[in-house]
């Protein structure tokens, strides 16, 4: 825009600017799909019957939104600095969560460790099982049919699309979370982080590194 814009004779009146005669853009949040209508109907029925209150629902949503990958990063960083804790985490993930001051979680936690020979990646081909108490809500791609069907069949190609190239001499282990376990990848501690505190290390542990589609951030 030039300084002499208002001197231009282009018929752009202020009356037009304030009138907004163009059609309003439709809101994207008012699409009442079949399942959305079902959810609202069921929720209102349960509230009417006194099974729970609207505030209970709101609290649950708030609780769910409060969880995020920082919880998972905490246990990973702790395992990086404390060999005894690492052993516990690999042996009994739920107990290790409690020791770290977190929820045990509603499911058994299986932690799979990346080593110089082995790289792990998690999927739930049947739905979207995910350790929500440690990572929060799963990303949309984790729930997509493309990720779920492809990562079991061509994991190296999918990882490459995430920017993660696994050398030929490293075995790729896919874990399909089909039933009552939930999974977390314990990535390898990045080189060049000697002497770092747990908090500082936790800052390198991304959500995607704990799902196994990426490596931790570099220091």
């Amino acid at each position: 825009m030039t300084a002499d814009h208002h001197d231009d004779d282009h018929g752009h009146s202020h009356e037009h600017e304030s009138a907004h005669r163009h059609p309003p853009r439709a809101d994207l949040d008012d699409t009442l799909t079949y399942y959305r209508a079902m959810e609202i109907a069921l929720r209102e029925l349960l509230i009417d019957k006194g099974v729970f209150t609207a505030d209970d629902v709101r609290k649950q949503v708030e609780d769910m939104d409060r969880r995020n990958p920082a919880q998972g990063a905490r246990v990973v960083a702790k395992a990086w600095v404390d060999p005894e804790y690492r052993k516990l985490l690999l042996h009994d993930g739920g107990e290790a969560c409690v020791v770290a001051g977190l929820d045990r979680g509603p499911y058994k936690l299986v932690v799979v460790e990346n080593t110089p020979d082995t790289y792990n990646v998690i999927v739930c081909t049947l739905c979207s099982c995910y350790p929500r108490w440690l990572l929060g809500l799963p990303p949309d791609w984790y729930k997509s049919r493309a990720y779920r069907s492809r990562v079991v069949r061509e994991p190296r190609a999918v990882l490459r699309e995430f920017g993660t190239e696994i050398p030929d001499d490293v075995a790729v282990r896919v874990h399909d979370s089909t039933a009552d376990m939930r999974y977390l990848v314990l990535p390898q501690r990045p080189a060049g982080t000697e002497g770092w505190s747990e908090d500082r290390l936790a800052g390198l542990v991304s959500r995607d590194a704990m799902i196994g589609v990426s490596l931790p951030r570099r220091p």
């Binding site: 299986v110 190296r156 190609a157 282990r173 896919v174 874990h175 089909t178 039933a179 009552d180």
Partner: protein, 101 residues
């Protein structure tokens, strides 16, 4: 829980097992892509309610041992394009497994 309400585990880590080839209707948590494939028991995860029953609001009894079974990718996908050492671990309930030579 009474003993009769849970099935005793019949496999141990290291046992070779094959997934039954079956296509029952309803809610099943054994992926199609692994039916008929052979692998090795990685661990016993515990004993859990049968999801094929729980899905219909039934009690899920008897509870079934749940294993993690490790398959070689080359055994699951004949045209697998990765490396020979690549594997996939899947949770499978005991009633879907049989011993494999």
């Amino acid at each position: 829980m009474a003993r009769a309400e849970a099935v005793e585990p019949r496999f141990q880590p290291g046992d070779r097992v094959a997934v039954r080839i079956a296509y029952p209707p309803g809610h099943v948590r054994t992926p199609y892509y692994v039916r008929g494939k052979a692998g090795v028991v990685e661990r016993l995860c515990g004993v859990y309610g049968n999801p094929e029953e729980l899905a219909y609001a039934r009690p899920g009894l008897p509870r079934q041992p749940l294993y993690r079974v490790r398959f070689r990718q080359g055994d699951v996908w004949p045209d697998y394009g990765g490396r020979a050492g690549d594997t996939i671990d899947i949770e499978i309930f005991q009633h879907w497994l049989e011993p494999s030579p």
